[in-house]
């Protein structure tokens, strides 16, 4: 168990290092930030001086070593564009993305799991078929189109929900949350649905497939053969066995949700990390892009690690070793 955790940890470090390298190679290959940092009338010699000041003329290796060292010390540097410390920038944007991602994931689970169970148990039903087709169409429309459609339907035409931003926020320490005001929740609904729809379909289909698989296993057949009540067969026997593989995927999905929030955040002007990232792309703010990449990868790695450990916690076959 400990050995397993250590092994995963070492692998995670490898992943982080590789990502750090990629993040750094952004510096080497994506655009020239100087043009973005300076105004129209800045002379060329001033631009060169700035380039020198920022260390952009140093050799690749020197820059990479400096970069990795800074990252390890938790010094994420300063934005080319706003000169803000990037650590603080990311930290101030993090809650928005995490809240959006979590709520989107929750929506996808709260709707997706029951829908998956239902469609697995009644695979031929009209409701099941329409659910399957409906969600299929849902994921076949590009996310940004869905987002804009929702905005114009519920924001502009019906006027029920806000169309951009986070609405009312409450600060708890540095964490700016929109979960404590009615307005915040109203602002959260549309982006969360937009972001969650794809995950919802995934969850539903996965749960459905797993559930159908589990319902065919011997232990379920045995439970039926000994007259265990159907309710218990479905929810006490089949469902937990279904959820074990589902948990892994959901863990992976959370990483995906955070990464894919870029589009949703852009459509809803949701002030999270994705929007920050898009802005930094627009202005070639390479340090911010790099740190974003590292942070996303870090989340991904941590979630993967957590899922692996959660797995052990849930499955007695992995948890309880001694046998008689």
């Amino acid at each position: 168990m400990v050995a397993f955790a250590v092994k995963r940890l070492i692998q995670s470090v490898f992943v982080m290092l590789a990502v750090a390298f990629l993040a750094f190679s952004l510096f080497a290959f994506v655009g020239d930030p100087i043009a973005q940092m300076t105004g129209v009338e800045t002379s060329l010699e001033d631009q060169d001086r700035l380039r020198e000041d920022l260390g952009l003329n140093d050799p690749f290796v020197v820059q990479f070593t400096r970069f990795t060292g800074d990252m390890l010390r938790g010094e994420f540097g300063y934005s080319f564009r706003t000169r803000e410390p990037i650590g603080a920038m990311i930290l101030s944007r993090l809650p928005a993305t995490l809240e959006l991602g979590t709520v989107a994931l929750l929506i996808s689970l709260i709707v997706g799991i029951p829908a998956g169970i239902y469609t697995a148990l009644r695979p031929r039903g009209v409701i099941s078929q329409s659910l399957l087709i409906g969600t299929l169409i849902g994921v076949s429309i590009p996310t940004f189109v869905i987002g804009i459609l929702l905005i114009f339907l519920f924001g502009v035409q019906l006027g029920w929900l806000p169309t951009y931003g986070r609405g009312g926020t409450v600060e708890i320490g540095w964490w700016r949350s929109s979960l404590f005001t009615a307005q915040g929740w109203r602002s959260l609904i549309l982006p969360a649905i937009t972001l969650g729809l794809f995950q919802l379909t995934l969850t539903m289909r996965l749960v459905r497939a797993q559930m159908m698989e589990v319902m065919r296993t011997d232990h379920i057949r045995f439970a039926i053969a000994r007259g265990v009540p159907w309710r218990s067969i479905r929810y006490r026997h089949a469902l937990p066995n279904t959820m074990i593989p589902v948990i892994t995927i959901i863990g992976l999905q959370f990483g995906g949700v955070i990464a894919f929030s870029i589009v949703t955040e852009s459509v809803f002007q949701w002030p999270g990390m994705g929007l920050l990232f898009l802005e930094s792309i627009r202005f070639v703010d390479i340090p911010v892009m790099s740190v974003y990449l590292v942070v996303i990868a870090f989340f991904f790695v941590v979630i993967n690690l957590a899922v692996d450990l959660l797995y052990v916690a849930i499955d007695p076959r992995l948890r309880v070793k001694e046998s008689f």
Partner: protein, 524 residues
């Protein structure tokens, strides 16, 4: 530590209710595409920053709704004898937002800060050798040569409180890391910075102690950047914001037709033009013309100008909101040459004839570089140009790219022809001559990517800059405009429109430089 903020919804729900009532003052919400990246007036010379900070900081002079120069922190100014510079008499009794007094020390401090190495606005003072404190409320700007337009050129030079800056370690603009002035402000302007949340929202409250009479009735102003045009428009239509700039041209009509909304369409000072690779020996993106550059021939350049149907571009792509342009500056701007107000006629036949004459009757292909997120419908315009040129047998391969890499490509000479928009920072015709028409050198012609070179224009620049007599100066400007038109150095297409949209109950003033001034906002 709970701090609650209740913005949008209460407002959204109540706008209809409130708009019918006589309301004295109001929270005003507005949105633009880009967040001002810093609150430091000397750190970045970019329109979003300067536009925003003009509400918080002030310069010695300021511009009125028609772009005229009027007194601000200076009550008056006069040229020093022999064109040695300018003397500014400062306004007395002005206080910064933190209560400290404004005087000549702040001007000198701000000048030194603005010309420091870390500053991005040094170029404004290229001709200034020194600023001299005459007394508490008089300063002299000493210049190398007579500079008649100097006061207007420093309208965006904003004055910081020296004491405040020193206290907070903001003596110099932030270069690598941020400093106190990046997120905080202490100006003399009509609005004070109440809260700054970069990239998310920025709040301003009126400065009760402002020296001037407040023309607005705003009690609180909140700015939110909304990058996606559709999202921004939706926010306006759903009543969540009161004002947005810009909105897509194609949506203007729909917004106008809706009840409760108003669109303000005007012209920016930005002229959109095509530039040529004058100093390229050959075309880079052509198969047919190896070793030759047809654009060396003025007839070919003229053919291009005559092949482009600017009227139709205006009608279809710009929805009739643009204004065809004949020069590098829009009509009516200071220094605009009335003698050269006509642009070449749209005449594809004549264009084809010119090509024939130049020996390119069979046409040729070339690369047209184009940004796709810089100007209004920039890419569509390039494609329309390409399509029109195709009709005279010239094939333009359009390479449209985000502005983030665009200038690099132009500086690296990766073009045969390119699209450029130019808005003169000084609101004078001299500005584009300095940057676009002068032969490129270290300091001049820095945006003359194509390397257009004309000795007469080079020779005229200095006199234009120092000539004090308006008529003599205009004569020289007319000559330059004539040369540029004759040479077809650039093909000016049109003056870019400026589309603002707002709730019907909002009154604003649209200034041609696209600066949004809160002090002219009234919410009814």
């Amino acid at each position: 530590m709970f701090r609650t903020t209740f913005p949008v919804a209460a407002l959204a729900l109540s706008t209809t209710l409130l708009s019918s009532l006589p309301v004295a003052a109001e929270t005003f919400r507005w949105a633009g595409t880009t967040d001002p990246q810093t609150m430091d007036p000397h750190a970045v010379n970019a329109a979003p920053v300067l536009s925003f900070l003009n509400n918080v900081y002030e310069g010695l002079v300021r511009r009125d709704p028609e772009m005229g120069v009027e007194p601000s922190l200076a009550t008056s100014w006069e040229a020093l004898p022999d064109g040695a510079g300018w003397r500014f008499t400062l306004r007395e009794g002005v206080t910064f937002h933190d209560g400290s007094e404004f005087n000549a020390d702040d001007v000198i401090f701000s000048y030194e800060r603005a010309v420091s190495e870390a500053s991005d606005v040094r170029s404004w003072f290229a001709s200034v050798t020194e600023v001299v404190r005459v007394d508490d409320f008089t300063v002299d700007f000493v210049t190398t040569a007579p500079n008649p337009l100097f006061p207007g050129s420093i309208a965006n030079f904003m004055i910081l409180d020296s004491g405040w800056a020193a206290e907070n370690g903001a003596d110099l603009p932030a270069r690598d890391a941020e400093n106190h002035a990046t997120r905080n402000a202490n100006g003399t302007g009509p609005f004070m910075l109440a809260a700054r949340n970069p990239g998310i929202e920025t709040r301003l409250v009126p400065n009760e102690n402002w020296w001037d009479t407040a023309g607005h009735n705003v009690t609180e102003a909140i700015f939110t950047p909304i990058g996606n045009p559709a999202t921004g428009l939706a926010a306006l239509l759903s009543g969540e914001i009161d004002f947005i700039s810009p909105i897509p041209l194609q949506d203007a009509e729909q917004v106008e037709e809706r009840d409760g909304f108003e669109v303000l369409a005007g012209l920016e000072t930005r002229v959109i033009m095509l530039g040529f690779g004058h100093d390229h020996d050959s075309l880079l993106y052509s198969e047919e013309t190896t070793g030759a550059n047809p654009f060396h021939d003025p007839r070919v350049r003229r053919a291009v100008a005559q092949a482009i149907d600017v009227e139709t571009i205006d009608r279809v792509i710009m929805r009739g909101a643009a204004e065809p342009a004949s020069q590098l500056v829009p009509a009516g701007l200071s220094g605009y040459s009335d003698d050269h107000a006509d642009r070449p006629d749209y005449d594809p036949d004549a264009a084809r004839a010119l090509l024939d004459e130049a020996g390119y009757g069979d046409g040729f292909s070339f690369g047209l570089m184009c940004p796709n997120d810089r100007y209004i419908n920039d890419e569509a315009v390039c494609r329309a140009v390409a399509s029109m040129l195709a009709r005279i047998g010239v094939e333009a391969n359009v390479n449209a790219m985000p502005v983030r890499g665009y200038w690099d490509e132009l500086r690296a000479d990766n073009f045969d022809m390119y699209l450029l928009g130019w808005s003169p920072g000084t609101f004078d015709a001299e500005h584009p001559i300095r940057f676009l028409a002068h032969t490129p050198t270290e300091r001049l012609g820095t945006w003359n990517f194509g390397g257009y070179s004309n000795q007469r224009i080079d020779a005229l620049l200095a006199p234009i800059q120092s000539e004090v007599d308006p008529a003599a100066r205009q004569a020289m400007l007319d000559e330059v405009a004539g040369i540029l038109q004759e040479d077809v150095a650039y093909v000016p297409l049109y003056t870019q429109p400026l589309i603002w949209a707002m709730q019907e109950n909002v009154d604003v003033v649209q200034r041609p430089d696209d600066f949004f001034m809160l002090r002219w906002v009234t919410v009814n």
